[in-house]
Symmetry: C2
Subunit: 437 residues, 2 copies
């Protein structure tokens, strides 16, 4: 039996406590799998007294997580503090510089400082593992970083935020409004008191930035992401989507195009019969398309203490299986210095199908004017649906257009033209359609 792997955990919230419990409860099995014991030798958290369902009395307590990170009583530092600056950043830097392996679930930190941290890890010859940072328990980092070696990725996309997927799923299943679903999600603990970070797409964007780097061997560019949230999705959109054979999901999509790499987060129509359309509630999913493997889809719990802890424990176990002197693959698939600069594809060059929902005056000539604007911008239509609008059907109606593949620029120009024609009674709704198997 080799020496035990000594782990320091900073942050004992839901995930941290769950990691400590799993390492304790599954100690015997983990020892069998890793060939040596994994022990928690140090911990740090804000509150010392709280009952976390696990006996941590054998671990040394640190009030200051940075002190734990630099302590020579650990081999691995597990960062579960959160936040993209401050204590989390200081800890991880300190641990890496002290030659400790690091495991983190912190997507915000990686999206912002991932390259600088990876650089330190690679110089020090230690591992920086972050499976839990993207899509919770789904092993997408391991899959892209290890299993897909040799594959050239053309597109990666996914449902990366459980809060948004929970809201969209309930809106569809129960016919209730975005606002009502959000309030419920907050009550159930699926959404924060300030939900902006989730529902406007920031959380998805952080995760997407990491996936993009792994997919394309490019430098992380978390600020270069086109972003639209789900707060303006209405029942009218969801019903129209269903009628046309689509379901609305908030996707993060990164795609290689002729003009660069697209990184976009927006509500998306996916075919109802596709696998990703069946991913409901707080479940996450990631699809990767490559030249050799083809299309792979992974779905599973994207959040929650246990699912996230599973990914953290997997990362720690990988370190336990390795031995001093072992050099693992690079943090973001390629060594940091060999990551290519990120070249952003302009959103207006995006090519795809579009769903356009217009609320218009119900009078002669309106539809002809809309059709003219589409034709003027070389947009051909796959389907057209017109609805009378309930009680007010005398004066307004809804026109839904689904386009064949066209460009974002053409759609924006056409919709601007329709708006300037003065026929619209409400803000036009435009939702991108994504191919999905």
């Amino acid at each position: 039996m080799s020496e035990a792997l000594r782990v320091g955990i900073a942050g004992l919230g839901t995930v941290g406590a769950s990691v400590a419990r799993v390492l304790a409860d599954k100690a015997a099995e983990l020892t069998r799998q890793c060939g040596r014991p994994i022990v928690v030798s140090g911990v740090s958290a804000r509150e010392r007294a709280r009952d976390r369902g696990v006996d941590l009395s054998a671990a040394q307590w640190f009030d200051d997580p940075v002190e734990l990170a630099g302590w020579d009583g650990i081999d691995v530092f597990v960062e579960l503090i959160g936040g993209d600056e401050g204590a989390a950043l200081d800890c991880v830097k300190t641990a890496l510089e002290a030659g400790r392996h690091v495991v983190t679930a912190n997507k915000a930190l990686l999206a912002k400082h991932g390259l600088a941290l990876a650089d330190i890890a690679e110089q020090k010859g230690v591992l920086l593992n972050y499976e839990a940072a993207v899509a919770g328990g789904i092993p997408v980092i391991k899959t892209m970083r290890e299993a897909m070696a040799g594959n050239t990725v053309s597109r990666v996309f996914g449902i990366l935020n459980g809060t948004c997927n929970y809201i969209l799923t309930r809106m569809e299943a129960e016919g209730i409004s975005f606002e009502e679903c959000l309030a419920d999600a907050q009550r159930l603990g699926y959404a924060e008191a300030d939900p902006t970070f989730d529902i406007e797409g920031h959380d998805t964007a952080h995760k997407l930035a990491i996936l993009t780097s792994l997919a394309f061997g490019s430098r992380i560019a978390a600020d270069d992401i086109y972003m639209e949230g789900i707060s303006n999705i209405t029942q009218a959109d969801i019903r129209a989507a269903a009628e046309l054979g689509y379901r609305i999901k908030l996707l993060g999509v990164a795609q290689r195009t002729e003009s660069g790499i697209e990184q976009r987060v927006h509500p998306t129509m996916v075919p109802t019969a596709s696998v990703i359309a069946q991913v409901h509630g707080v479940t996450n999913a990631v699809a990767v398309e490559t030249d050799i493997l083809g299309e792979l889809l992974l779905s599973g719990p994207g959040a929650g203490g246990n699912a996230t802890a599973s990914a953290v424990v997997g990362d720690v176990a990988d370190i336990a299986k390795s031995r001093p002197g072992f050099q693992h693959g690079p943090v973001f698939g390629r060594p940091v210095k060999e990551l290519s600069p990120y070249k952003r594809a302009q959103m207006r060059s995006h090519e795809g199908g579009y769903f356009i929902r217009l609320t218009v005056h119900d009078r002669t000539g309106v539809f002809a004017a809309i059709a003219r604007r589409m034709a003027d911008n070389d947009i051909s239509l796959e389907s057209i649906v017109q609805h009378a609008n309930g009680a007010s059907s005398e004066v307004q109606k809804t026109v839904i257009l689904v386009t064949h593949e066209t460009t974002e620029a053409a759609v924006r120009k056409a919709v601007d033209g329709i708006t300037s024609d003065g026929h619209l009674l409400d803000k036009p709704q435009v939702i991108r359609i994504e191919r999905a198997a």
Copy 2:
């Protein structure tokens, strides 16, 4: 830059040639990812002259694959010969005993000799990687062996045979018979001239045996698998399934129960709205349920030269990233000597819902007799559908029963009873229902 990793490939059929091409085409990127070049230094195949779309002139040619396996000009031996005895077994044994890492796609070999081979690998401190042996390009081995460390698995199930899924998908989509679909699959190269191995479930069983060992830390028991193929699935079953909200898939299922571990391969009703029900054509999928992570599902190409090559290359790249002295995790998750004996759960103890389709005389009292047999065996019914049978509706009709959770023993007894009552005009059809998210 470290020294190159030298690879010997035995078997240059579709997969072998694809592996050689990927290693050549992606040499620069693989070097970046692995920190050293991967070169094919030796090859062996039946036919030397064939054009395989890749220049192998720099590699040494071996007429005898066993000689290649023992050659000291390789660090890794890639076995793509196939078969569970003969050359494949001799090669892999020779390579491991000579201290070479081995990568294989050979599920039959592993199902039969996996433990003996793993034992040699562990003694010699070399890797035996076999991602391509189960579900082609889907990284299920890596996920279960590495990412799920610390998880206790309760059930693993999947669509593990592309041929069967292709046939079932087309039967449903086009309303054609099993025989017609099979003939088409053979013409398109998705099924062998002798399709027994695929359609009767043997191929699925080999893969399931490997997954069971990884899931439960038990010794491989490929001969202890309950097996039913898809050749008796009819349009009547497929239509009835659809009507009741199910789709029929050939699943391999391994499940921990109170009396042991169930390993079963059979046509299965899965809810139409589940993710696995959307897995169409030759695509494979594997779902794993655990105590910590929850339910994870992976879907992707389960066969084909490139998808399989992707898994082989991933395995080789993992070896390239490791360095001498590195000790990886055990071949089947735990060291061979610590795998527990396989304890088979009896099929008659299986608990679940059942679909039962009966063709009966259309006369008074028949249905009452059927209902009585169900009640006598404590089987409660979730739904009952009766159909007149087309032109012959005067004399026969179809009765479809869907049971609530019951036992295999109860269902068999009830169906035997109904059969002995003399009301049946055709063999009763019984299909198990599987929970799936």
